[in-house]
């Protein structure tokens, strides 16, 4: 945890942190910084902010530190932190909410994670299901990790795990429309919340 100048934190910044907490269903005041979330996190070793610190910076209203952090993108959404928190703070949801806020702010602290999810959803939108070989190929191409898991792809091929005739949802046009409607509803909700915020000011 580094020291930050709290005088530089604007009301808007504090409000943005509170919005994230609200989306996550978290009351930031509940966290008393015991660190149990971090102790159990299987990926803490690789994170730039410890899970506890993400909550701390949100408490302080330091929105930029949080939105630029790699941590929410490294998080595997395993829910160990939330499950062990003595104060019932849903840190895992907070990670998700920070990540979405960061994505909507046009930031990509860890491009690989974002590319993977985008390709996953694009794949589902087209096929109705997740076609693992298309997903891996598209991901490798876009993330520029061309050879990643190529050895494993061959091993899968040998075992008839890929390349076989696979399930495609017959109503995949329905699924594409569903994805579009869901994303529209998502955008409308965010636009509404921006408008409410504007009204407050």
């Amino acid at each position: 945890m580094r020291s930050i100048d709290l005088s530089g934190i604007s009301d808007a910044s504090v409000q943005a942190c509170e919005e994230i907490a609200k989306d996550a269903g978290v009351n930031l005041k509940d966290c008393y910084q015991c660190g149990k979330c971090t102790a159990g996190c299987p990926l803490a070793d690789s994170m730039d902010l410890m899970p506890r610190e993400v909550i701390r910076y949100l408490q302080l209203g330091a929105i930029d530190v949080v939105l630029d952090a790699k941590t929410p993108w490294i998080c595997a959404q395993c829910v160990v932190c939330s499950s062990r928190c003595p104060q019932n703070v849903d840190i895992c949801s907070a990670m998700r909410a920070v990540r979405l806020a960061s994505k909507h702010a046009g930031k990509r602290p860890l491009p690989e994670a974002d590319i993977f999810d985008d390709e996953f959803i694009a794949n589902v939108r087209v096929h109705g299901v997740s076609n693992e070989q298309y997903l891996a190929a598209a991901y490798n191409l876009k993330s520029l990790h061309f050879m990643q898991d190529m050895g494993n792809a061959t091993r899968m091929l040998k075992r008839g795990m890929v390349g076989v005739s696979m399930h495609n949802t017959k109503g995949r046009a329905n699924v594409a429309a569903l994805v579009d409607r869901a994303l529209e509803a998502d955008a409308a909700r965010r636009a509404q919340s921006d408008e409410d915020k504007g009204g407050d000011e």
């Binding site: 595997a76 160990v80 993977f116 999810d117 899968m156 569903l178």
Partner: protein, 354 residues
């Protein structure tokens, strides 16, 4: 025992062995799994990390089809990732009328979230299913020490998954004990396998798998038993990569095969390894089973010899007791006769004296 069945995207690909072994076991014990017509991907964490609306709507489409086409049936989702997505969607829909209205609008279909969502473990752990499993066991998988690995998505979040033992679940352990295997006590039952992060941040995520193998080994397990195709893929397929790195660091490679719990139940029912999909595992998985089958036979033989020896000893002691008793009885009889004689003799003596 009839359920609506949500196979999930990996059912015909990377999770083939799970599908094959599941239908093998289900058929044998009279569990009927009816596939949801035209189901679609649950969206898994990718949807949750894209949009909350998408995360609840993608599963709801398949659940709504199930509600219409397979009314009254609970939905079973073998993959833990699918299970968590479906279950989260149901919980959201049940929360309020507003939530249901939102979902119906997005999926463009009626949906009331009537059916519950279950894991395959829950389906096989009912009293009825357990009785049926016990009745079908032909060969107990004795001597096989198993580390039952549940992963995270089946147990967490505890309120969504309705799990009351997040750190130490026992359903799989109990099923393994039922077929004669020996579940070990270990600490990584519900640690995360890394899920999709094994693709996006492989360097950082690899140690998650290595620690799972390490803890299983440290607690004396021969193998890891899983109940999720993604956990299985991450462990079984990546064991080779991990071993390569270990060897390069001068450490011993692991030799810990992974199995689906359904594969092991199938074996206990008398199936050959190929019948339940063990032939397409990444890490060699057949020799351990053969070795433990031999160990079990040897153990049985030793037990039979010990039992026969015990019987022989028992008979020997019983014979000795009988002999002792007979000897004692004979002695007592002789003593009685002697006493009786002694009682009459003085009379005789007197008579003689007179």
């Amino acid at each position: 025992m009839k359920y609506s069945y949500f196979p999930g995207c990996s059912a015909n690909t990377t999770g083939k062995s799970f599908t094959v072994s599941t239908s093998y076991v289900a058929e044998k014990i009279g569990v009927e799994l009816v596939e949801i017509p035209d189901w679609n991907c649950c969206g898994t964490s990718a949807a949750a990390l894209t949009s909350p609306e998408l995360a609840v709507a993608l599963p709801a489409r398949s659940l709504a089809i199930s509600e219409r086409e397979l009314p009254g049936l609970d939905v079973v989702a073998p993959c833990a990732g699918c299970y968590r997505s479906l279950k989260t969607s149901v919980a959201f829909a049940r929360e309020s009328e507003d939530n249901r209205t939102l979902i119906k609008k997005i999926i463009n279909a009626p949906y009331e979230a009537k059916a519950d969502v279950l894991t395959l473990l829950e389906v096989f752990a009912t009293d009825e299913a357990r009785e049926a499993i016990a009745a079908k066991v032909q060969r107990k998988l004795r001597c096989l020490k198993v580390a039952c690995y549940y992963g995270c998505a089946m147990v967490r979040p505890a309120d969504v998954c309705e799990c009351d033992n997040v750190e130490d679940p026992m359903e799989m352990d109990d099923l393994m004990a039922l077929i004669g295997a020996e579940p070990v006590d270990w600490a990584f039952k519900t640690e995360c396998c890394g899920a999709a992060q094994q693709m996006t941040i492989p360097v950082q995520a690899k140690p998650m798998i290595e620690r799972i193998f390490q803890n299983a080994q440290a607690n004396g397990a021969d193998c890891i038993v899983t109940s999720c195709p993604l956990c299985m893929l991450n462990l079984d397929m990546r064991e080779a990569e991990i071993n390569k790195a270990r060897v390069a660091r001068g450490e011993e490679p692991f030799d810990i095969p992974c199995y689906y719990f359904t594969e092991l139940i199938g074996l206990a029912f008398g199936a050959g390894p190929d019948e339940v999909g063990i032939d397409i595992h990444f890490h060699p998985a057949k020799n351990l089973l053969l070795q433990r089958e031999l160990d079990a036979l040897e153990l049985e033989e030793a037990e039979n010899i010990a039992r026969a020896e015990e019987e022989r000893k028992k008979a020997e002691i019983a014979a000795k007791i009988a002999a002792k008793k007979a000897e004692k009885a004979a002695k007592e009889k002789a003593a009685q006769e002697a006493a009786a004689q002694a009682a009459t003799q003085p009379e005789e003596g007197k008579e003689a004296a007179e």
